[in-house]
Symmetry: C2
Subunit: 352 residues, 2 copies
């Protein structure tokens, strides 16, 4: 706190990202990064863009990248918006589509940035309580509200809902925007992109950070009706005209166009996840079936904090939240097969 | 406009950046980019960072880049903040330090993003009228207010004030934050960085876009007391934890460390500016003495719009604003000597 701070930041409760260790070498299973490098074509495109052209501002409209995304998804370019990671796009969307006097709703256990945005932008919100098995009672997303945010698959639980549920929420809320945050969609769930044509209130948000292994590049995109895309553009142009730099645009476009590489690493992560899920169950863990690149799990004999600390001592970082409803649960990102073997071995020592 | 738009964006008046032409080849003197490529060391650092490491999130604290800046400027790392261009940092600062009930003041002719920020974040503001010679009546920045924003040198006029004036404004406003926007400082004016130790209300904002030829990379930085830096961090962590990607951090740090290259292109731009200023005067232009990488000029016999259009027809882009007080003025970025020769020749045809 400081005498010069505005009331807005005096009242803010910022998001805490997962640790990015600088010195000690950890097995890093705490921020859902991809264990494999990005497409070699992305690296090549970046190296090609790393010359004299950097003296010029980037294309504020990210036209080439949006074309690559629109092409892949069967959309028009006017239905695609690109930003500095899906976090920036979510922040823009909260400002573009939600008003202070009506409650935004989202599940009580979900991406913990949503309440941060709502607080920071002065919006009311209502957290829908989860069922005991962490499924979302979607009826509660269909009542009177000022907007809906639904992570599908959800984080940190890893549970996906089918498109029938997404469509029911969209149809029940025709006058407000429904944001479907598909950061983890490529690891096993069905995207709502196909519903965009029928629901002008649908905004689908995706990222290059997970399934395209480009967390370090900061590129996300939103897809929806042109009116919603224009709303995001209006926020951007009121804050920072150029949020995606030249290298990020070039690298992300090349990654989106490299479908074979994308499919290969996506499948590899899913295979490792299935193996790790079985192994965790064998040593007594409860594991929520996951459609993501992480597993949400707990052990009847150990607290979440004890597991977190024990793993850290053994050189393995995972994610844990200090909140009563999930205090005994860990979120473990899917690493390489070797990293997951090391994880299982460490947990085995700790619980046996 | 769209039924799903929030009140906030229905009322927004976004900033319009200068044109980034896509097809026709123009001589581009409209967005104050550097005519020379960035440091080869920046390009090399980017190519080195364009590998497997991109799968990992960037350092949210930009420690290496902040260390490079702190080192060069004789500051502590805790006095430096990095962001996605100085525009993002200015947007953060408006949210971090200004409250809706007190007027932010800035000159009436200055960077046109300031009123955009104020409007978008629901802040009152007062535009201080300029003297007829475009100097800023700094007395008017010293009265009762909720914060001050002073571009030094100013844009689009190109006029710098001395540190005595900056210090007078700082001393007269001890209870509010004074943002000194030094986007163009390296082309001839004195930076206020040396005042940071004595004025906890001073925030100096700089960019890699102009004097370091990295407009395409989107990196800016703010320098000030650690309390102000923490305030910017609080805004960032309420919106988007990682705003500067790995490539941008690596490239900007290398550019900041390449002092020789920086000095060489900075001097070259100044030399070309001095030559162009003389040549414009010779063909009858009024030219405001500039401490920046652009010239603000008018011609008694031609309207600003006529000059803008005539230059465009001749393949040269410059910047013009459709507002009564500067309607007959052009802002012309300093290009290479050859580009400026072409500009002068084109203008010569048009005014003779």
């Amino acid at each position: 706190m400081n005498q010069y701070w505005s009331r807005r930041i005096r009242e803010a409760v910022p998001y805490t990202p997962g640790e990015q260790p600088k010195n000690r070498k950890f097995i890093k299973l705490n921020t859902n990064e991809c264990p494999y490098p990005p497409s070699p074509r992305a690296a090549e495109a970046i190296r090609g863009a790393a010359g004299g052209g950097l003296r010029l501002y980037p294309d504020p409209e990210c036209l080439d990248l949006r074309t690559a995304i629109a092409c892949r998804e069967g959309l028009d370019v006017s239905q695609v918006f690109c930003g500095n990671g899906s976090d920036e796009i979510l922040a823009f969307a909260f400002q573009a589509f939600f008003d202070p006097d009506r409650e935004v709703v989202f599940p009580s256990i979900t991406y913990s940035f949503y309440p941060v945005y709502a607080n920071f932008f002065g919006l009311k919100y209502r957290e829908v309580p989860m069922n005991p098995n962490f499924s979302v009672p979607d009826d509660l997303l269909c009542g009177e509200n000022g907007g809906v945010v639904l992570a599908n698959p959800n984080a940190p639980t890893g549970i996906a809902v089918g498109l029938g549920v997404v469509e029911r929420v969209l149809a029940a809320n025709p006058n407000v925007v429904v944001i479907v945050d598909e950061a983890y969609i490529d690891f096993g769930a069905d995207s709502a992109i196909g519903l965009i044509g029928r629901y002008p209130n649908l905004l689908v948000v995706q990222t290059s950070s997970k399934s395209r292994a480009l967390a370090g590049l900061r590129v996300g995109w939103a897809m929806g009706s042109p009116g919603l895309i224009d709303g995001l553009r209006c926020v951007r142009d009121s804050i920072n005209s150029y949020t995606v730099d030249r290298l990020a645009q070039a690298g992300a476009a090349a990654a989106v166009r490299d479908e074979d590489y994308f499919q290969a690493i996506r499948r590899r992560v899913i295979k490792t996840r299935e193996k790790a899920e079985e192994a965790l169950k064998e040593i007594g863990f409860t594991v929520i079936p996951s459609q993501t690149n992480f597993l949400f799990c707990s052990h009847p004999g150990r607290s979440g904090k004890a597991l977190l600390d024990g793993l850290r001592e053994r050189g393995i970082l995972v994610r844990w939240w200090n909140r009563p409803d999930i205090r005994d649960w860990l979120r473990i990102s899917i690493g390489t097969d070797e990293e997951m073997d090391a994880l299982i071995q460490a947990l085995c020592e700790m619980v046996s």
